[in-house]
Symmetry: C2
Subunit: 327 residues, 2 copies
Amino acid sequence: MLKGLDELTATIYAPVQSQLSQVEERLRDLPRSNPDHLESLLTYALNSGGKRIRPAITLLASDFYPHDPEKPLVMASAVELLHLATLIHDDTVDNSDLRRGRATISHKWDKHVAVLFGDFLFATSATFVCDTNNVRVIRRFSETIMDLASGELMEYLNAFNIEQAWDLYHDRIHRKTASLFCTAAETGAILGGAPEPQIQALRNYGSNIGMAFQMVDDLLDVQGDSAELGKPVGNDLLQGVLTLPTIMLLERYPKDNPIEALFRDRGEDGKLRQTLDMIKNSGIVAECFEVIREYCDKATRSLDDLPDCDARRSLLALPGYIRERSR
Amino acid sequence: MLKGLDELTATIYAPVQSQLSQVEERLRDLPRSNPDHLESLLTYALNSGGKRIRPAITLLASDFYPHDPEKPLVMASAVELLHLATLIHDDTVDNSDLRRGRATISHKWDKHVAVLFGDFLFATSATFVCDTNNVRVIRRFSETIMDLASGELMEYLNAFNIEQAWDLYHDRIHRKTASLFCTAAETGAILGGAPEPQIQALRNYGSNIGMAFQMVDDLLDVQGDSAELGKPVGNDLLQGVLTLPTIMLLERYPKDNPIEALFRDRGEDGKLRQTLDMIKNSGIVAECFEVIREYCDKATRSLDDLPDCDARRSLLALPGYIRERSR
């Protein structure tokens, strides 16, 4: 399956492949251009793999109109760096030892190093954005860091709270995940010289793609394979985090729901298994795909008025890739 | 003593007192303008007291030439917010329960909340800076966050390492403390419309004042009163952090120095007492004051070519206040 996905991203990323390689190069240059005591941390953090989907969106969103090619490049690098910084703090807060099958910074070094090194990467990403010389873009970037942090905080403060309505869930995942996809697309559009309505269209695209992306992640957590995920199955539930399938399960079976006992007793293994089995046998997965498809459709419809070009075709193909991740 | 200091700051801050009150107001407005789940955290963090010395420097540095008064105001607010954000992460990393006599965020909530809330404040400070609309200033601000984080990381990675030369110490405290004083003054000067040589002069002023400030903090740690400090005496030593007086002590008594045993056995109480007594009886405190005075003199000499005005007189008086803190 992984090979099929790699081929799919290769096709989707094709119009911006050379720019993406330049982004990689700029990230790989960071250990050399920083103080010695940061070298091993930077080298480790920047070789963590990942699909580079956010910088690809920035580059594709910038590729509709004539523009200075340098600016989307630094923006895409900043977007990926910011993403890496958030992962480091998230893993610290979630007590995660593994990410993509590798030890997390908080596990390989310790939590304190992870906090300070995450701060350093946040700030580094912000200095990259300054190279765009565009205050609107810089402001959106800072606001996005606020969203990401407040979304993670919402998740953490609401952990093990079973009473979470849908709007809280949507607000939370928009902040913690969709906001960066939204900003990746919007800033790409701004720096790519798009007219205002097209900027808004690409912003909507990013926002909806981001929601779909998080919901696919939610599904992967309950049905994935831990070796493929690079982290344990059911991790969200063990952290007390409600997700798309688990909120649906709570709605469908409000009485005697195993999640209640799981949250009350914090991680009783039998209840986790029971929850995952119930989701598998309930048809909820298909329903989740329905919701995900709606967000993907909203994303692609946002592009209706944009000119036809390679970048547009790639952005239209991206939802298919995102859905494919969870099959 | 505290009253005398309060009177001193009142005199020094006089030329910018009304702007400083506006900074306070903007900070106090933050809980209202942010999502509900952040309200209690923001209210607690923004009522933590503090002398507001960094925003005062920004405002004073801006007060030499005609300029738009709004920009230094948002900058000063950003500088103070950034300072508060760094304290939250530093307290988390240092396992500190108390700051200025109050429970730290990591103690009152927990470390995970402190990490994410600190991130939120970092980002909020960065959005404040965007209101200056000045990319040079925004870039200096981001670079300063990089310095602060890398300085703290240097301190943490070198903890309990007795082999630290002077240049490592100077580099470390410049990053972790002086960099923000430097940026506070430099950005104030830029936004205050100062010509380039005066910007550099105020930058030097901030840098040297910041070094002196950290060295006074170093002294307070070995000779302060824990009730007045709001944290335990000898805390730096217990954290394995070498400071101005302790590096001097190691230099003067390279053999049988109690710090060696203290670092080896991690916090043996008798050795801490012995170290503090040795510093008291060695004349090292007077030597530290000599070094601090040199930095203060460099700071005031930086202002030689600036026009005489209330702001300049205040900046010239500030070193006296900073030295007075440790008597």
